[in-house]
């Protein structure tokens, strides 16, 4: 486990995001605005901030972070590619000690989100970069004094695989309303657990104070114990992410001429009516009740309300209706001609295919089992195969020899993070990746939406674009969504100022949390 998990409280970016609305708020920057062209941003920095080793924070550190760290080819970071558009990089330069200028090659709607990326101090890390020790210093072996940030906490110690201890940063810049320096807490201990069973048991036996991602089946055991165990369970709405079924429509063939997928199967899968029929045939309520212990939400499109501002609730939904499903299939001439319970097409091919999922995820296997049975009711014979995650990815990304997959995605509140998925040339455009040009008009429209959305600086206009995206996906069902878990957190009642939020989780305001008097 690398230390990046804990940098949330150790490092800060120029901006941060609101834990409920995802709006950007000032952090190390106090103001940011762009010029008329939209290509040049001027960012004003907060004065009086110190690094946790006492040195002052200035514009030099910001320039250093972008130009010498993120854009440094020798350093491991994926941020670099995110802020490199068509090979062109940002130009970050110092205007004065507390003002920085960003020159962008194209307009960027999420500029203020991107600059929430951690800022690191020049005085500490520049010598390391020159000596080549930066990567190892920031790796899992790091020494506490090498982790220098401006955040409310500092690394006190860590035992690999066991725990990480953060302690209070006495030089943190933020103060409360009465002028006291934050944070209040002296120490945060992260206990690393190998599995969710352990996390649950430890919390129940009062060894830990929080469960950050509670499972649906833990709820019936923990909820009645709230009073006795002195804790509270927070239900925060649907989680990010999704679990969906996807069908292969890739028309290509492997090097020896064998098509990735049988042409007759491809014909079914490419027909939107087929996918919509499947969407009507999935019993989402059973998935929620049996797999998530009743604590989940049905999903029909790529976003849930967890996406916040950009969520479009007015998309097409698919009720559990086998008759509707069958009539759609009948329109496609998929009928059970010989009364054996399995549909056949006009040429006599039985509707049969392999449904793969990854073996490591028990919840996904359980969902796949239900979907398989649902499809059987519809008249499709789906053969379930759980395979190793890596093997699955190889098929999706390299060999393309698969028919149907049940997969999941984590998500986030920013739609653009899904660009690799939704754009037709994207590598994660699972049903037909790496397209040279969009295969269908709606995929072409989605390409446009994502290109425009990235550069659209007007928030309202931007939302319209992404609303349309969700509507198209819900209509076309390239991913047939099932259900998503309830985001739940359990926290012991000994803390004040905790406001668990869907986006920020529990520790988004770590500096404000304090221990209540017993």
């Amino acid at each position: 486990m690398s230390t990046s998990e804990f940098t949330l409280s150790i490092f800060e970016g120029l901006t941060t995001v609101d834990a409920w609305t995802f709006e950007r708020k000032p952090l190390l920057a106090t103001a940011w605005e762009h010029d008329e062209s939209g290509l040049v941003w001027t960012v004003k920095l907060r004065e009086g901030v110190q690094w946790n080793d006492g040195k002052p924070f200035t514009a030099d550190d910001v320039v250093f972070t972008y130009m010498d760290v993120i854009y440094n080819d020798d350093i491991t970071t994926s941020m670099r590619d995110i802020i490199t558009i068509e090979g062109k990089q940002w130009q970050v330069s110092k205007v004065d000690d507390f003002t920085v200028r960003f020159e962008l090659p194209v307009k960027c709607a999420i500029f203020d989100l991107l600059i929430a990326s951690d800022i690191v101090p020049k005085h500490k890390y520049q010598p390391m970069i020159l000596a080549g020790t930066f990567d190892s210093a920031m790796g899992a072996d790091s020494k506490p004094e090498d982790i220098v940030g401006t955040g409310p906490f500092m690394l006190a110690s860590h035992e690999t695989g066991q725990k990480v201890i953060l302690r209070r940063n006495p030089r943190y810049w933020r103060r409360d309303a009465e002028g006291n320096r934050l944070p209040y807490l002296e120490e945060i201990i992260y206990v690393i657990v190998q599995d969710l069973n352990s996390e649950f048991l430890r919390f129940r036996n009062a060894e830990t104070d929080a469960i950050l991602r509670m499972r649906g089946e833990d709820f019936p055991i923990l909820k009645p114990l709230e009073r006795e165990g002195n804790f509270r369970i927070y239900q925060l709405g649907p989680r990010y992410g999704s679990q969906y079924v996807v069908f292969n429509v890739n028309p290509g063939a492997s090097v020896d001429g064998k098509p990735y997928i049988a042409p007759y199967q491809r014909r079914w899968f490419s027909d939107v009516r087929f996918r919509q029929a499947v969407a009507h045939a999935i019993d989402r309520q059973t998935i929620i009740d049996s797999v998530m212990n009743g604590l989940g939400y049905p999903q029909y499109g790529p976003a849930t309300s967890a996406m916040g501002y950009f969520y479009n609730p007015n998309i097409r939904t698919y009720d559990y209706n086998l008759d509707k499903a069958r009539s759609l299939l009948r329109d496609m001439e998929l009928i059970d001609r010989d009364d054996d319970g399995v549909l056949e097409d006009a040429e006599g091919h039985k509707v049969e295919f392999t449904l793969m999922t990854n073996a490591e995820n028990n919840q996904r296997i359980a969902i796949a089992e239900i979907v398989r049975k649902d499809l059987e009711q519809l008249g499709m014979k789906a053969n379930l195969r759980a395979i190793e995650f890596n093997a699955l990815i190889t098929r999706m990304d390299k060999t393309f020899d698969w028919e149907a997959i049940l997969l999941g995605l984590t998500g986030g509140p920013e739609p653009h993070w899904g660009a690799h998925i939704w754009k037709s040339g994207g590598r994660m455009h699972v049903w037909y990746p790496y397209q040279k040009s969009p295969a269908t008009p709606w995929e072409a429209r989605i390409d446009e939406i994502f290109d425009q959305g990235f550069q659209e600086l007007d928030r309202v206009k931007r939302k319209k674009l992404y609303d349309e995206w969700q509507a198209i996906i819900a209509e076309q069902q390239p991913y047939i969504y099932t259900a998503v878990n309830e985001h739940m957190v359990a926290l012991r009642n000994k803390f004040g100022n905790v406001f668990p939020a869907p986006i920020g989780g529990v520790l988004h305001n770590a500096e404000e949390i304090f221990l209540l008097e017993p």
Binding site: N197, P220, I221, K223, T354, E360, N362, I370, N383, E388
Partner: protein, 379 residues
């Protein structure tokens, strides 16, 4: 250690001496080994379930009732709510709701009685794969349901799935052991008989294979299976993967025995008579090892059962909906589910019983076939 069992005189009660063949003698010794006989009886029961699974199981293994998710054991009553006795036991209709703690609360509906029937009509099947029928040992009138051991998360009867699951768990050991026994006999025989460099190389090969940790090899081999396989093909794939690991150990044991047998007079005689090597190995040497090979094999059957269970438990073995005792335990690994629905742990108990039965029988066989060992002499 390994001796050719010779004809031994036994003293029956009427005072006459009688010669018994080694086989008869061994079987006798086996019958006296109490635990082995218990084990044997358990195995017989389990195999009867395996062969006649459709008959004994009230429900098909994929018969879901989604409104009966995690139904606790629902057993027949003789007395109804008002205390009336009924000769024919019955169950009530049942359904659940989530309470405020999202616990499933099942309420029975006394107005709906479904009677237990023997030789009831159920899901169609083919008896012994041939005779189409739909008669099952017992069942209740539809739409009532009987869950003697409870139901799983989609309302499938655990007992039925346990019975169907025995088809996988009980046969994987036999099949896998047979395959590795054949391979082991051949390779061990060749190795022990020829000796020299062949022996050296083969022994090193066996050691090499045994160096690779089992579970990881199983996982890796499983991921090489092509995905379009039917469940039956996956089953055979798993069997062969397990056998691939198992033959090396058997080969070593066989080789040890062959080494000592090869020095014996009757082999020298056969060589002198000009018999071809393969004939000597297959028709003379190997049969002498057979009894010990069988013991070794039967003692390794548990390893196959456990191997398949472990694989299926981590999702890499038998796939849903086909039940195996291993894949039925997937949900049991989750402590919260286990605490609320302990009956999902039954498959583990069955694995335990089957393995134990095989261990007892194997131990009995070993004692019976090796008269040199002290434990073989029963009081």
């Amino acid at each position: 250690m390994s001796q050719q069992a010779e004809t031994v005189a036994a003293e029956p009660s009427n005072g006459q001496t009688e010669s018994l063949s080694p086989l008869r003698l061994s079987l006798r010794a086996l019958r006296r080994h109490r635990m082995a006989m218990h084990g044997f009886r358990i195995l017989v029961v389990l195999y009867v379930f395996t062969i006649f699974a459709d008959f004994f199981a009230p429900y098909h293994y994929d018969d879901q009732r989604r409104d009966h998710s995690y139904h606790p054991p629902l057993r027949p009553h003789f007395y109804d709510d008002e205390g009336n006795f009924s000769f024919r036991p019955f169950v009530y209709g049942s359904s659940y709701t989530f309470n405020e703690y999202y616990q499933r609360i099942y309420k029975q509906d006394p107005s709906k009685k479904y009677y237990l029937r023997f030789f009831a009509r159920g899901h169609k099947y083919r008896l012994l794969g041939l005779i189409p029928t739909d008669v099952r040992l017992f069942g209740v009138d539809t739409p009532g349901r009987l869950y003697l051991l409870g139901a799983d998360h989609v309302g499938r009867d655990v007992l039925s799935r346990l019975i169907y699951g025995s088809r996988v768990s009980m046969t994987v050991g036999l099949l896998g052991t047979s395959v590795s026994l054949i391979i082991g006999l051949l390779i061990g025989g060749i190795s022990g008989y020829y000796g020299g460099t062949i022996d050296l190389l083969i022994q090193r090969l066996c050691e090499l294979i045994m160096l690779i940790p089992g579970l990881y090899l199983l996982m890796i081999l499983y991921s090489t299976l092509p995905p379009g396989l039917s469940s039956v093909q996956v089953y055979f794939g798993v069997v062969f993967i397990l056998a691939f690991i198992g033959w090396a150990g058997l080969a070593r044991v066989i080789r040890g025995m062959v080494l000592s047998i090869a020095k014996q007079d009757f082999v020298t005689a056969a060589v002198a008579a000009g018999l071809p090597s393969w004939r000597i190995i297959v028709r003379h040497v190997l049969p002498s090892t057979l009894s010990y090979a069988i013991v070794a094999a039967s003692l390794s059957i548990p390893a196959y059962i456990l191997g398949e269970s472990a694989l299926s438990l981590i999702g890499m073995g038998i796939q849903d909906p086909v039940p195996s005792w291993g894949n039925m335990l997937q949900k049991a690994v989750n402590i919260s589910e286990l605490a609320q629905h302990p009956w999902i742990l039954w498959p583990g108990f069955f694995i335990f019983v089957a393995v134990m039965a095989f261990n007892f029988v194997g131990d009995g066989l070993r004692d019976a076939f090796d008269p040199g060992s002290v434990a073989g002499q029963q009081a």
